[in-house]
Symmetry: C2
Subunit: 388 residues, 2 copies
């Protein structure tokens, strides 16, 4: 096991009606900016519940944060918040609204060009405090310090992280997610699954508890994913999915073990170039990357095959391929394609383009062994494109 | 799944040499009271490393906190800390030192009789901030708000909990535990196992992820417990045990599910009366309580049999008994007896005495269904006493 520091200070309020729990969490005199996306929170009751919980506070609003939150939009919010001297940000929405709000929180007090936070990894020395109300289980953003921001002008999609951006609290009320479109639920299941894989499917590091926790999340997503898609108003199924997605990326299962994240880095490029949903980029990359890296990941792939999919028999190579196929079938059963060719806009030179974009940004050594080089990226995407 | 709030603010520094990480955690001008037990920290290098990390601070010492930390001892520390105007407590030791230090932290600013915190559940409104350096993996005290305090004068052993008593940080360096006596390691494994069982072996609450996390901890303890006892200096084995014990009682696996804790309540009486090591009281209570409650706990016992012990065949009753026996064999393999009769001082009227003591304190409805009444306690202990 590697040395690690683990600290997740976000207070989770989980369950029915928990939006009301935020009242005491926000300083009495704080001027609050409520951020959200396309306005679904006005339909699903979240907006009303949030305003009720914020009674007594001055509340301003900033809506319209889009999927793959856009730098220009967020900078509008930053200018507005600076002008209004906002003290607290309350983000209500899915991963995009939450990520975008973390960026707003970091950019408001930032000296210099705030895009440097993403492009140059400029240090975030402080941030406006923020809280979250999650309405789309998937990214884990509600209780982690990560955010991914897009910039259309330069076709960039870049991540940043700062401990100052941990939400003070996160409300997870599964009932507020019942009205989500099926596509978003399916995407969320895949996203949480791949988050877990990025921290699990690497190489053995003598960390059997972390392994078992990761396998627990994978098994649970396999069990409840299709069911919660089919029965969106079943509280317990949805609650289990919500909690699994949070646990998949709150720092816990990644503590003390190697991490991969190559699939995410490649996927971000596919979103930036072709507008493919984030989770759908992961589903077309991961299976093929595992095939390409199967020697380097052999031991964990065999463990994955045995413990997660119950594949015990056959030669090593067969068991590994069986497990990858089962994972693909699982994604496909949710309506999420696992072949790059399924996505419009993608062409025969896409693998080379993505590899070259990563190279030009210096991302030439991805993965837990830093051996996912641009040629490996190209081979992976070519495999995905050619797959039947 | 039940509604819940989960918040664990303790920063964990895990691994070799991590004591040095505490320097920036303690306010620069704080006057620090270093608390410890019998002085083993002077032998195992912890004391030296702690002093080095505290360089620049005024450091006072309070040693001699005993196993089952004693009210009178702790009140000495309280008086000393009040007189010296201590700002920060640093506890270095096992669960007893950590629990005792939480009590000191809460008692220093407490108005009134501090024993009321335990006996009457008086509210702790504030506490002196504390940090922990764990040298005995077992109780999870390093990153939770719980403490159990004893008072010899009245043969009491009582628990309290306050969010103000969450340690600010916890250092878990597995190497500092290599020199522990085998008996303490064995006790620690059993303690962590039973902590997990108290939050798992209840009734199904549609919380499959929490179930799987709990099963992960149980399986990992079964796997590494005997090995780390046999090879105390194997870093990875010990690290896995340390992390498992922390995860067993940091609030995570108990979030959103019913909890039992009857075994602990009964065990505390056995320690208070006969001085039996805490973990050893749990080992003589739990198997027999599960037998007595097997109808009420049937579904989870069958799940435990199947998933944790691989017992799939036979009638329900047989499978349950097989699983309980496997658990007993596991405890015995660590040198920890599972029959009350193994402990000197215990007599034929012990079951009745314990039941009556619990009754006199109003603990008449224990367990997740509040159906562990004094007669059930008596029956459980009688079974343990009679067992071959």
């Amino acid at each position: 096991m590697f040395n690690f520091t683990f600290h997740n200070p976000t207070r989770i309020h989980f369950g029915k009606g928990q939006i009301s729990a935020i009242s005491p969490e926000i300083p009495a005199k704080a001027k609050v900016l409520l951020t959200y996306g396309g306005g679904s929170i006005r339909q699903n009751g979240v907006f009303e519940q949030a305003l009720r919980a914020l009674k007594g506070h001055t509340v301003l609003e900033f809506g319209g944060i889009e999927p793959n939150p856009e730098f220009e939009t967020l900078m509008e919010a930053v200018r507005f918040a600076r002008k209004e001297k906002v003290d607290f940000l309350l983000a209500a929405g899915g991963g995009s609204v939450l990520d975008g709000t973390k960026y707003i929180a970091a950019a408001i007090p930032f000296k210099g060009d705030p895009w440097d936070i993403c492009r140059k990894g400029a240090q975030v020395k402080r941030a406006i405090p923020l809280g979250t109300i999650l309405t789309l289980p998937a990214t884990g953003s509600e209780s982690n310090p990560f955010a991914v921001i897009s910039r259309a002008e330069t076709s960039e999609k870049l991540a940043f992280s700062s401990d100052h951006c941990y939400p003070k609290f996160a409300v997870l009320d599964p009932e507020t997610t019942f009205s989500l479109p099926a596509r978003q639920v399916a995407n969320g299941v895949v996203d949480a699954f791949v988050h877990t894989m990025e921290q699990y499917l690497t190489y053995p590091a003598n960390a059997p508890l972390q392994d078992r926790f990761a396998e627990s999340i994978l098994q649970t997503l396999i069990e409840v994913g299709p069911k919660t898609l089919a029965a969106p108003s079943d509280y317990d199924l949805r609650a289990t999915f919500v909690w699994s997605a949070t646990m998949a990326l709150n720092g816990l299962i990644g503590a003390g073990v190697p991490q991969d994240w190559a699939t995410h880095m490649i996927g971000h490029e596919l979103t930036a170039l072709y507008g493919i949903d984030h989770a759908r980029t992961l589903a077309v990359v991961l299976p093929h990357l595992l095939r390409v890296r199967k020697e380097q990941k052999r031991e964990k792939l065999l463990q994955f095959a045995s413990r997660v999919w119950g594949v015990q028999k056959g030669e090593d190579g067969e068991r590994i391929e069986k497990a990858i196929r089962k994972m693909e079938k699982f994604f496909e059963s949710l309506g999420v394609p696992t072949r790059l060719s399924a996505h419009p806009g993608v062409e025969s030179d896409t693998p080379a383009i993505v590899a070259s974009r990563l190279k030009s940004r210096g991302f030439t050594k991805l993965g837990e062994r830093q051996d996912v080089t641009p040629p490996v990226v190209e081979r992976t995407l070519a495999l995905s494109l050619a797959a039947a």
